[in-house]
């Protein structure tokens, strides 16, 4: 326990010294703050559902910091509530992908045989097509709604975790400590969960952070294509799609949600890069993001 706390402290202090990781942490903290305190921070908290036809498409001003949209709703307030949806999608989709991908990767990595090959082949099939393509197909099939978006993203993202865990587990099997634990009579379950898993936690955490950014980006694309939660949900991608017919006049309407998506995704990417530097000295920042 003490060991875990000091290890976590080590990671946090190292991250704080890395400038870009720190920026990432701050951005994510702001996002969480915006989501949690949305009703408090919003200047017009009721505008998520209320219509104000007389206030339509007003420029940014003291009353409406980021202007108003086609319904006369405050863009800034809706953005804050949109942060909740973004976090919800990211956390559940990445969590579900972890829950699915990590065990599959562990099992396939530990056992050698046709079943392992089959599992990895299945994950390869999902990786064979760009995520957004499959996610679009699934989300469209199931119908536009928040749970369906999350499901589509989870179903298409787990192979990334399975791949990482599989490769790391296979690499670990050559290590002396795994061999000696096996020789001591540890069950496969005990070996993988108590000994292998903690040793491959770093790449999983890094992948999860980058996966958050990537998933949020894909979710926004689905929302933009009309496959996200239906209106009046203040989902960022859909808001951008709605704003298009009011361009070029209502530029704030289109610009604001895009900036929000950008800052959010950048936060998770920077944190992922920083975590990689801190947790895994073998890999440098150079190893680029691949999915």
């Amino acid at each position: 326990m003490i060991q875990n706390v000091s290890a976590a402290w080590f990671v946090v202090t190292r991250l704080a010294r890395d400038r870009s990781a720190l920026i990432g942490l701050v951005l994510i903290a702001l996002l969480v703050l915006a989501a949690v305190l949305a009703p408090v921070l919003a200047t017009h908290p009721d505008d998520v559902f209320e219509l104000h036809p007389s206030e339509r498409l007003k420029e940014p001003s003291g009353a409406h910091w980021l202007g108003t949209d086609r319904m006369g709703a405050d863009v800034y307030s809706r953005l804050l509530f949109g942060a909740r949806i973004t976090i919800l999608i990211g956390v559940i989709a990445v969590g579900a992908s972890l829950a699915l991908g990590v065990p599959i990767g562990l099992v396939a990595g530990y056992h050698h045989g046709w079943a392992s090959d089959l599992l990895m082949r299945v994950s390869d099939i999902f990786l064979a097509v760009p995520q957004v393509v499959l996610a679009i197909a699934i989300a469209q099939t199931l119908g536009p709604s928040l749970p369906n978006v999350i499901l589509a993203l989870s179903v298409t993202y787990w192979p990334w975790f399975a791949r990482v865990v599989y490769a790391e587990t296979r690499a670990l099997q050559k290590e002396v400590f795994v061999e000696s634990t096996t020789a001591l009579g540890a069950s496969p379950w005990r070996l993988t969960v108590l000994h292998v898993l903690p040793n491959i936690a770093s790449p999983i955490i890094v992948r999860a952070s980058i996966g958050m950014g990537f998933t949020i980006l894909t979710a926004a694309a689905l929302g933009f294509l009309g496959l996200g939660p239906p209106p009046p949900t203040p989902e960022w991608g859909r808001t951008i799609a709605e704003s298009r017919e009011f361009l070029p006049d209502a530029w704030w309407y289109a610009a604001a949600p895009g900036v929000a998506i950008f800052l959010t995704v950048m936060g998770f990417n920077l944190l992922g890069d920083g975590l990689r530097d801190v947790l895994d000295p073998r890999l440098r920042r150079s190893a680029a993001r691949d999915g």
Partner: protein, 335 residues
Amino acid sequence: MRLLALALHRLLWFVPTLLGLLVVTFVISRVIPADPVALVAGETATPAQVEALRHQLGYDRPLPVQFVDYVARLARGDMGVSLFTRRPIVDDLAHRLPATIELTVVAMLVSVLVGIPLGVVSALWRNSLLDHALRVLTVSGLAIAGFWLGIMLQLLFSMRLGWTPLNGRLPGYPPRDLTGFYLIDAALTWDWGTFGAALQHLALPAATLAFPALATLVRFTRAGVLDVMESNFALYERAMGLPRPLIVWKYVLRSALTSTVTQIGLLFGILLAGAVVTEAVFDWPGIGTYAVNSILRSDYNAVMGFTVWAGAIFIVVNLLVDVAHTLVDPRERAS
């Protein structure tokens, strides 16, 4: 010999991977809550007419039979008929493929021609102001939503400044159809007006599509050059007094680029995925727009056709990249 074995090994996996992809798309397209046949038949069709159409399209047979039939037809190059346009999907896709290839290739060229030099420069002047600026650029490239970037570019360059057309591929008639690639066709027929117009239409979607790929390339090239600059052979060459530009642009770059070659497969994935949304934003008449329209019209045959094409292209490119990498890098052959 190893090379041949590797290529064969990858080819052997190609068929089951593709088959698996077909299973996935087939399952997705048939577990749908909506009835595609009723959609095609239209709202005015009687139940009897719907059933007749269902029989005619073969949708009343058991699913496994439909799947085997689908795969068998696919093997003959038949992807079925679009439920919406009523034309063979292969024709629809083939007709639209040149537009997508033209866009993707231009975007790939832009990202390679701009990204690699920027990566080298960034590595040479490490931690300079320029390096930091490029770092911001690469981080942005991977965080920006492609569709939003496209809309912002439209807002600035098309709507405000009026420098570029808003969307589409050409306003009037396309050049004489020789290859399907407007730039090449226009150049071959010496039609420079059309060439310029095509280029203007390409500018924004290509820039939108190239941005994330460019960011990735800058990153990889920078890291690769930094790695190689610290290697013994680069040190030796410097000690021997070789001019720095020669070392960098000839020896270091060649060595650093071997790892970049592997990334082309990855890059292609980024471009292909980006093309779907980018094409939708710019109304670019390629297979991405076709896919999005098919999805919105519940044209399941067409969606399946697109997914299979995209998947097959992607798998083939990765196969080629694997083999190319082995060819370029002798270390791969030895290991």
